[in-house]
C-alpha cells in the first residue's frame, strides 16, 4: 500500500488521502488541484512548494484547536509559554522591554511637553498607536522607536536600550 510521509511520524495511506479529498467541497478540491500544480511546477520555488504542501495538508486533514479552526495568537503565545520554559523567558523579556519603553515614552513626552496626538502627527502614525504603546499593547517597530526619539529629542537607546541588538539580530 503506497503511503506519503506527513509531519508526524505516522503515515497516511493513499486511500485516506483520496477519501479526504472526496470529502472536500468542490471549491476546496479546486484548491488542492491548484496547490498540486504549484508542487509539480518546475518553475516554482521551494518556498512556494512548501506553502502549497502545507495548504494541501490543511485542506485534507483539518487542524482544530479547542474545537475551532486555527489558533488565537494571544492564546497561542500564552499556551506555548506555559509549556516551554525558553519561550516563557523570551516572552518575559519582551514584556519587560515593552514596559521599560512605555515608562521611558511617558517620561519623554512629559519632558518634551507633547500630547499623544502631537507626537503621533510628528511621527506619522495615528494617536491610538501612541496610546497603545503607553498601555503596553503595541510593541513598536524599531523604525517607530527611532522616529519617536527624533521627535522627542532623545537617543533611541534612551527609549529602547536593546535597540541595537534587536536590529542587528
Amino acid at each position: 500500500m503506497s503511503t506519503i510521509q506527513q509531519d508526524s511520524p505516522n503515515t497516511t495511506t493513499t486511500e485516506e488521502i483520496l477519501h479526504a479529498f472526496l470529502e472536500c467541497s468542490d471549491a476546496l478540491q479546486d484548491g488542492v488541484k491548484a496547490m498540486l500544480r504549484i508542487v509539480f511546477d518546475p518553475d516554482t520555488t521551494e518556498d512556494e512548494k512548501a506553502m502549497a504542501k502545507h495548504t494541501i495538508a490543511d485542506i485534507l486533514f483539518p487542524n482544530y484547536y479547542n474545537g475551532n479552526l486555527g489558533m488565537d495568537l494571544e492564546e497561542a503565545e500564552n499556551d506555548a509559554a506555559a509549556a516551554n520554559e525558553e519561550l516563557k523567558g523570551i516572552i518575559s523579556e519582551m514584556d519587560l522591554e515593552e514596559a521599560t519603553f512605555s515608562d521611558a515614552l511617558r517620561v519623554g513626552m512629559e519632558r518634551a511637553g507633547v500630547t499623544q496626538r502631537e507626537l503621533a502627527e510628528k511621527i506619522g502614525v495615528g494617536q491610538p498607536a501612541i496610546a497603545n504603546m503607553l498601555k503596553r499593547q503595541c510593541r513598536p517597530q524599531m523604525r517607530t522607536v527611532v522616529r519617536i526619539a527624533e521627535a522627542l529629542g532623545v537617543c533611541p537607546g534612551d527609549l529602547w536600550p536593546p535597540a541595537k541588538k534587536r536590529s542587528v539580530d
Binding site: S25, G31, D47, T55, G70, D72, E74
Partner: protein
C-alpha cells in the same frame, strides 16, 4: 464549522487574531528561531486594532505598521502587513491576513500566510495559495461553501 465556539479570552482591541496551521508552518520556515517568531507574533497582534469598519482606502496603518490590500486579490479582502524591521535577519516580511465580512461568531481577523517578499509583486503561486487558504477559513470556520 464547529457548533460551539471556544472563546479565546478577553478581547483586546477590536478583533481576535487567529492563524491557520499553514501560517504557523510558514513562520517556522521563514523564522526558525523561537525569539524571532515571538517578535513576529507581537507585530501580527497589532491586527487586533484593525478598524471596526473595513477601510475603503487601499493602504493605511494599523498602529505603527503599514498594510495594503493585495491588488491581485481585489475584492477578496486579503491584505498584507508590511513589517518594516528586519526580524531574524529577514527583511520584507509580510503577514498575509484575511478580513471576513462577517463579525459572527466572533470578530476575527485571520493570518493565512507569512513570507519574505522577494519581488515587487506576489507570484501567481502565492496568490493561488492565499485564495486556497482563505477558502479553508470560509468553509471550516464560517461554514460557507
Amino acid at each position: 464549522m464547529s457548533d460551539k465556539i471556544a472563546l479565546p479570552g478577553a478581547l483586546t482591541g477590536n478583533f481576535f487574531v487567529r492563524a491557520i496551521r499553514p501560517a504557523f508552518h510558514d513562520a517556522h520556515r521563514v523564522l526558525p528561531r523561537m525569539r524571532d517568531r515571538a517578535e513576529l507574533r507581537r507585530q501580527s497582534l497589532k491586527l487586533r486594532f484593525w478598524p471596526e469598519k473595513t477601510p475603503v482606502d487601499e493602504s493605511e496603518q494599523v498602529l505603527d505598521i503599514d498594510w495594503t490590500w493585495i491588488q491581485a486579490l481585489k475584492g477578496h479582502h486579503i491584505g498584507e502587513l508590511r513589517i518594516h524591521d528586519e526580524i531574524g535577519g529577514k527583511d520584507n516580511l509580510r503577514v498575509i491576513f484575511f478580513v471576513p465580512q462577517s463579525r459572527q461568531p466572533l470578530p476575527t481577523l485571520w493570518v493565512i500566510a507569512v513570507l519574505q517578499k522577494k519581488s515587487m509583486h506576489f507570484t501567481s503561486a502565492n496568490i493561488a495559495t492565499f485564495k486556497a487558504r482563505k477558502q479553508v477559513v470560509i468553509e471550516r470556520f464560517y461554514g460557507k461553501g
